[in-house]
């Protein structure tokens, strides 16, 4: 689910960057009423995301330009797949092209990368989740693309989940408070539908966190064996999330320790754009 007024703001902002000050090339060379059409052509294998967003880009440039979606978000695509056909004034298509592709290729890149992690852990029961490491201004779309790719979102922002990190633990210590006392404060002050997750570095800290009332624990950069020990002890009692230093070559091993969730910052902080182009015919 996307909130369209927000997507519209993102699209208008992006168009303003590229188009607001005119396009002399097209203006001089393309007759304003020349009609044409273009195909969104995939050039690398991946998972598609952002077709409706791309459709909005064409629509904002020219309400008369219409993108017919042939392949829906979430589908696996191959080089040669035509995911949609856009029809309208050629000038409009040329002016919307770059902005539409910048969005579509980024989102498809995120979905594609996510799906690789999801496939890598297939059958383990482990879930791939994202982080707050998103492109500034694009969080809603970046997180949408993770879901399209088969991942699940972690908390959206600082306010919709409680995560006690080492800096918070340190602040507790400075106040002479135990973790349990900190969690008691959170239960008294934060709203009652938020669960509490605590970052831990080893089994000992995990024990303390669970004893103090954590409902989830985040194993931060923990070794595989230590993870396995934590899982043996707490699986099913609290949610167990692995985080830090996880990539495609080690994600399966991490998943096989039995953790419930693996969070991967790279899904959104370093996605490779999926190569998609607009092939125009006029």
């Amino acid at each position: 689910m996307l909130f369209w007024p927000e997507v519209e703001r993102i699209v208008d902002r992006a168009l303003a960057e590229d188009l607001a000050l005119g396009d002399p090339t097209t203006q001089a060379l393309v007759p304003p009423d020349l009609q044409g059409q273009g195909s969104l052509l995939v050039k690398a294998p991946g998972v598609l995301a952002g077709m409706e967003v791309a459709a909005l880009v064409f629509h904002r440039v020219d309400p008369g330009a219409e993108l017919e979606v042939l392949v829906r978000d979430g589908a696996a695509v191959q080089p040669g797949t035509v995911t949609g056909v856009v029809k309208g004034r050629v000038a409009s298509l040329l002016q919307a092209e770059r902005t539409a592709l910048n969005l579509l290729t980024r989102l498809s890149g995120i979905a594609t990368e996510t799906s690789r992690y999801v496939q890598a852990v297939a059958g383990t029961g482990c879930t791939i989740v994202d982080t707050r490491k998103t492109a500034p201004g694009l969080r809603s779309l970046d997180k949408y693309a993770v879901r399209v790719g088969g991942g699940r979102n972690h908390r959206y922002h600082l306010g919709d989940g409680i995560l006690i990190k080492d800096n918070h633990l340190q602040a507790l210590k400075l106040q002479g408070l135990s973790l349990a006392q900190g969690i008691a404060r959170l239960r008294a002050e934060a709203h009652h539908l938020l669960k509490i997750e605590v970052e831990v570095k080893d089994l000992g800290e995990a024990r303390q966190a669970v004893a103090a009332g954590a409902e989830a624990i985040m194993l931060d950069n923990m070794g595989l064996e230590e993870m396995a020990r934590v899982v043996r002890k707490f699986k099913g009692k609290v949610l167990i999330e692995a985080s830090g230093g996880i990539n495609l070559s080690n994600v399966r091993q991490v998943a096989e320790t039995g953790v419930d969730l693996i969070s991967v910052g790279a899904l959104t902080h370093s996605p490779r754009a999926l190569d998609i182009s607009l092939e125009l015919e006029s």
Copy 2:
């Protein structure tokens, strides 16, 4: 040079995504007046970009938070380099952390990748330039980071340079116009300080473009030998840009053909974030 009202808009938008709806964890656990400081710690080798932008993030969350910049944008950094120290209320530092890092690691990632390409072509006289394939809403920062990394910008948007692509050529044909006639139109209509670049696929098209009056030509996905032929023919007469399918493993070969410019979309469409973290002490 960055236009600060625009950077402020980007920062406020990003903060709103992460922080606008509160941070119950910090609010419950960190005393509001607890002062502390944190170090921006680099964890991977690269080129730094975005320190002033990060400083603005801390400042917008809390005017009392001050980032002392120890290393300036453009410097090569190593794992262990501390690029700056931010001081202020611990709660404010925790709340600004993610947004500041999301910007700093993206921009440093772009600068780092750019510098790799720049080094790869060192000594050839060839310039690495970016494209309009930037993250939607972040073009001004993305292009700034390319410059910080030693690259140069291509045109910023559709309006500040003329690039006749195949779709424009096709539109000319449909009107029964030659490229020369198209360029004549552009000279009559576009403003007089914009140069005209034409996309070409081989030496034949390059000849036509130059004959028609192009001041720069973009060799689109051309083979190395064909590039070399074009260079021999037109070097010094028009600017020659290579584009398409160029990566770190082949960029030097392309540069050695003698082209003036190489544009690389991946600099901004698929940068890997440079790993930088905030280490707090309170």
Copy 3:
């Protein structure tokens, strides 16, 4: 904790409504350089909220106007209490007055009403929480005032907590799905730090909800005896929230049933402004 860029937007918007098109009365009658000061004078007993917000209003009208806060948010105030003194150009004080008071009296009204409910249930261990029934555009401030008044927030928006209402239950039925199946879907799709609350109308529905995995239940417009039955059965197993038709005259009875939380829409949808005025001396 308030996110100041958001508060600034609210303040600027409010000032624009009142002042953007000038103030001919003050302009003609008050010399621009006449300095003066004014006291924020409370005229009815209550709980103060919004002093920093009011300070921002004066500051936005005139950076030279300074509000010295004498009484902090959360304090009980009486008729005659002076909560702050603002100094600056008389013209600026007059122009900021209405906007500052509109914010301060609304927020103090919410805090005051909240504190009445909190006092009414004192000693029962029950917590008063708000709802999403806030003034459009002012949610962040309205919810802040509830906290100032000693209440706690319920979820902030549709995204930071899961509440299955009767309409959702009906949708499940239409799909031939049980509540347990619905909750399983939520566990698979929503992020893992959100708890699930289910609206129930009687003990039977409460049983079903708890059996299906609800972590909290909302007793919707339930009679006192039925509430007591639900509490006897589930207290300590799930969080129990009472909601609907609760006011100052019956809230203690509801609290004495042993429910954990009572949500009161009237705190924010129908607060009475606390009477506070600005008394100027020049």
Copy 4:
């Protein structure tokens, strides 16, 4: 008359507060294409206001959702009245529900309260007017609701009417100027279509104000007998407005003194929301 671009801004802002970050409950439980409809059901007697605004909320969430207005703004409604039927995707209806109701119940609450005052003074020829004590950011809607309830607006902001209050009088004194000199300045500087009202505390001040050229006088917190004296003296010569400390139990007495206008801040600073709910069927 409402200015729709402004209403659209209010609606989008309110939706962003509630919905921008998603609605996991609905997303997981309600099939996206499930169609349904809902009735806006009144639960307390009052005067309806805001139906077109509510319609816009549904439309902004989903252009396919349509609210059929059965009862128009200004109508008296009773418990059980269905004021409109909205049809569309169930998910969209659930997501727009709270925002639509927050607007509709506030505006209807204002209209209802206004109509009580209007009825209380029926037959006296006295007019009920509002003040600038509106919810920040909602002035245009709050003032619209007053009109719907049968009241009339006072000036909209500081710029569209001249009201000389005691602070302005004091500023005049400090400059050694009489009220007549102040009014002369206003006639020279303010635009010529604005009338001048002067706040007065007793008959003596009223005499001075009228002698100085006031076109309206505002009797500030004046006793009933003093008001009657002022009315006997000046009725028909200047407009006479009563203000301060007026509520439903004394408004008729005030009106019967013969004042032309009674301004009531509580209409907009402390309205009770009219209870209206959305009853969905799917």
Copy 5:
């Protein structure tokens, strides 16, 4: 009086148009830390307006750039007058220059033109007023400049004064209503501090308007003799405004008929910019 948040919006918008996408010339040629100063030099006689606005432009580009105002708004200036000196980084001064001058020269142009009309009617007791024919987006500044030039504002927008034009009269006729009935409606519905002005074409219509209760009449494109007749009849009873077809060559004659006000659209719809430049020394 200017509302600074609004001026800031105008300035930021204007800067974004000119500067947001960089200034390669200055960036390449001017060392970023080179300090310098510049003088605002008047090149034609006129009345100065907009110095504080210009100061804000420099400040927004670079908080370190400071404009010292030597001559204040409203002063008569001559070729060679230096109205202010701005100091700061040369690069910043160059980048703010055009935007600051575009505002300063427009506003001074309006003030200058206004002062010409004001001088032309000097001694007649007639007041020069503006209209709503302002540059879109700049009304607050345009109207400020008229006041600086010695004129007075007419109503600011459609809402702060009542002006019954021929189209409204026609609408009344279509409804079978007399002007008096229309005015009665306005007295019942519009707020009580707005005066009612009626557009009239000759003495007959003026009689009807005054009889119907108009408090001001606007003589629309009336001949001098007819104006004089209207003045003889109604001077002192209602305000009399002349409008339409009035320019510098006939404005004194119009004023000498005895009308109270003359409105001149050209003040703001067709002002000639006053020539002012920035002379830099570095």
Copy 6:
């Protein structure tokens, strides 16, 4: 080509200035459902510009109001020409009227003035161009109107063309750099599609500029004979632009010197609005 999201922002902003706070006159006197139509009637000879913009104004006030464009932008119009007919609710037409006309008359004024210059140089081969001296916030429309009037745009903003002015030359001197060194820097740093223009005061400076690599030279306030000398020397080698002190009475002489371009600031800094009115029938 206009970028419609930007035009929409300009229109909404302008409407907000005029209409956001209501129109009591129309509201009281014109029945909301009264349909009518109006003609856009030209009252002075000129060139039309802004019809589509005007259409948008009516549409934003009331989606049911439709402007049928009878005469297109760029056409020469005469007193009496009806350029379009707008149909819809009379109240909506009255409320949109002023804003639509403020835009249409300004843009047509710019187009008209531009066409006068263009005609004055007809046959000389010289092109009339604008400057950055536009109304703040309206640059995109002002520059559009210049094109409609037969002129051509100069650079749009500081970033899409390189113009080395005397202040830049002075900065070079301070650094001990020659103009050629400055141009070398620009070639290394600015993007490769921007041409470099240098401001010169006489033939000597022109020689230096061309020798240093300028691709265009701007003759700043140069005498006709000196211009002619420069033209004889450099025509065809670099673009030659005349600027400064050029008006309708001397523009032909300047053009006849053989310069390629003449830039005229007055086109946009001091245009006279073209008199166009809306004649309503209901």
